[in-house]
């Protein structure tokens, strides 16, 4: 079976989310792998959300915001860009390929661009393969778990949820 990546998209309400809508209503077909989360501005995307998404099972995260100069809150998208760039620098330190996080500017009118971005991103992550962050972290801790005669449940057992 071909690997179908799970992708999370944080989309700005004013532009990219509308762009995605447009792609939908215009019946432009694109890869179904992206779960879109609407945010009020790309500047509201806390990098913690992205890390959390990767941890919880996303194979890739897409951030989309208004083109430079078009942000409804003036500077939000610049902030997003700077955070994104810094985040990309630390991902390899976690053993995560930086390509798994991607940022694009997509305007409300750019339905086609949106579809193209999603398709390309999906392809790229397909090639990278699954991330499996949570499971791999717990797997690497498997040998570390103490079975104590009277300890009962070991707390590290969270791995089961993964």
């Amino acid at each position: 079976m071909e690997f179908e990546p799970k992708l999370v998209g944080f989309l700005c309400n004013w532009c990219s989310y509308t762009g995605a809508d447009l792609a939908g209503t215009a019946r432009i077909s694109y890869a179904p792998n992206l779960r879109a989360i609407r945010v009020m501005c790309s500047g509201r995307i806390d990098p913690t959300f992205i890390i959390k998404a990767l941890y919880e099972g996303a194979d890739g995260v897409l951030i989309a915001g208004c083109h430079p100069g078009d942000c409804h809150y003036q500077e939000g998208n610049y902030k997003a860009l700077r955070r994104y760039k810094l985040l990309k620098r630390i991902l390899p330190e976690y053993g995560v390929e930086p390509e798994r996080v991607h940022l694009e500017w997509v305007a409300a009118s750019e339905g086609e661009k949106f579809a193209k971005v999603v398709n390309e991103f999906t392809d790229k992550i397909k090639k990278l393969g699954p991330l499996n962050m949570k499971q791999s972290i717990f797997d690497s801790m498997k040998e570390d778990i103490v079975v104590h005669e009277s300890a009962g449940e070991e707390k590290g057992g969270e791995a089961d949820e993964a």
Binding site: D46, T48, I51, Y94
Partner: protein, 317 residues
């Protein structure tokens, strides 16, 4: 009635124990209010004394140090069973601390580095310590060296946290007094510290400047009055909990984040990443890259004390 307390260290440097001793004259006060049933650095009690206790016998266990090996974990589990309240003392127990930086490596890489590759070691047969070893007198056991350093609350339930590397001694005292005064806050609270960001209690002057270049402290003589971050020195005060009295900052060095994150912040390092990126000056990709090039080793800098407590916990293998 006097409180019954056990004090223990896991993967610790001993600085947290020294910080308890550094309550100085209050030590006599502590001794008057608490009977200490285990304290390896100072008293001559042994594990067996604890094992013989009935469950919940101790009013509190104070655990400093991270969980780096099976012994650290077993004693944490033992003390948890024997104690009504479990307190994580110091950055190592709270967040993984400095030992937690080992989570950028694997167990095998570390053992090889220490016992085989280290420059002063002569070990032609490639001997690596074993968890069990037979000698003619019997079997010798060693605790298992873990692949991943854990925080205390990743192995047992923890009621309270006293942050800091090491915690400020008077803060330890005030946290302990919450126990004997029966004024403990809700379970899960950080005690003996503030609830705002360090920046808010920092004496340095802030002007809301944006930053276009970072420097490291060995490259500049910082202005003694102005905010470090605004001078382009990475300071973790914006994402770090107050309570230390800005002691590093007052001695001329930026904050490295030992008091840990504020309430409801799951990941200090990523929060700091966000805060730093927000105050950068440039908007163009190329210029942003140039500024970011001046932040050396960002992840370990932001997670100096908190890697095991972070969302991703360790480097993926």
């Amino acid at each position: 009635m006097k409180l019954k307390v056990g004090i223990y260290w896991g993967a610790a440097c001993g600085g947290c124990d020294v910080a308890i001793l550094d309550t100085h004259e209050k030590l006599l006060d502590i001794a008057a209010k608490m009977d200490i049933y285990l304290w390896p650095i100072a008293l001559d009690f042994k594990y067996d004394d604890v094992k013989k206790m009935e469950d919940g016998y101790l009013d509190a266990a104070i655990y400093s140090g991270a969980i780096r090996n099976s012994e650290n974990e077993e004693i944490a589990i033992l003390l948890r069973k024997k104690s009504k309240v479990m307190i994580a003392l110091g950055a190592c127990a709270h967040l993984g601390g400095i030992p937690g930086l080992a989570n950028f490596y694997t167990r095998d890489e570390m053992l090889k580095r220490i016992y085989i590759d280290s420059e002063s070691t002569i070990n032609e047969e490639g001997v690596i310590p074993l968890e069990s070893w037979n000698v003619k007198e019997g079997e010798l056991d060693l605790p298992r060296f873990y692949n991943t350093v854990k925080t205390l609350d990743q192995v047992v339930d923890v009621e309270y946290y006293i942050p800091g590397c090491p915690p400020v001694p008077l803060q330890i005292y005030s946290a302990l007094s919450l126990i004997w005064d029966d004024m403990l806050p809700p379970v899960g609270s950080v005690i003996g510290a503030g609830d705002k960001a360090l920046c808010e209690s920092c004496p340095r002057v802030k002007e809301e400047k944006t930053i276009s270049e970072f420097k490291r402290i060995q490259q500049v003589l910082p202005d003694p009055e102005k905010c470090f971050l605004e001078q382009g020195l990475v300071c973790l005060g914006a994402a770090t909990r107050s309570g230390c009295g800005a002691r590093c900052i007052k001695s001329g060095v930026p904050c490295r984040g030992c008091y840990g994150p504020l309430d409801d912040v799951p990941d200090l390092g990523i929060k700091m990443l966000s805060a730093i990126a927000s105050v950068l000056e440039p908007k163009e990709e190329k210029e942003i890259d140039d500024v970011l090039d001046t932040i050396v080793d960002p992840l370990r800098t932001f997670h100096r004390f908190s890697m095991p407590a972070s969302i991703l916990r360790r480097k993926k293998e």
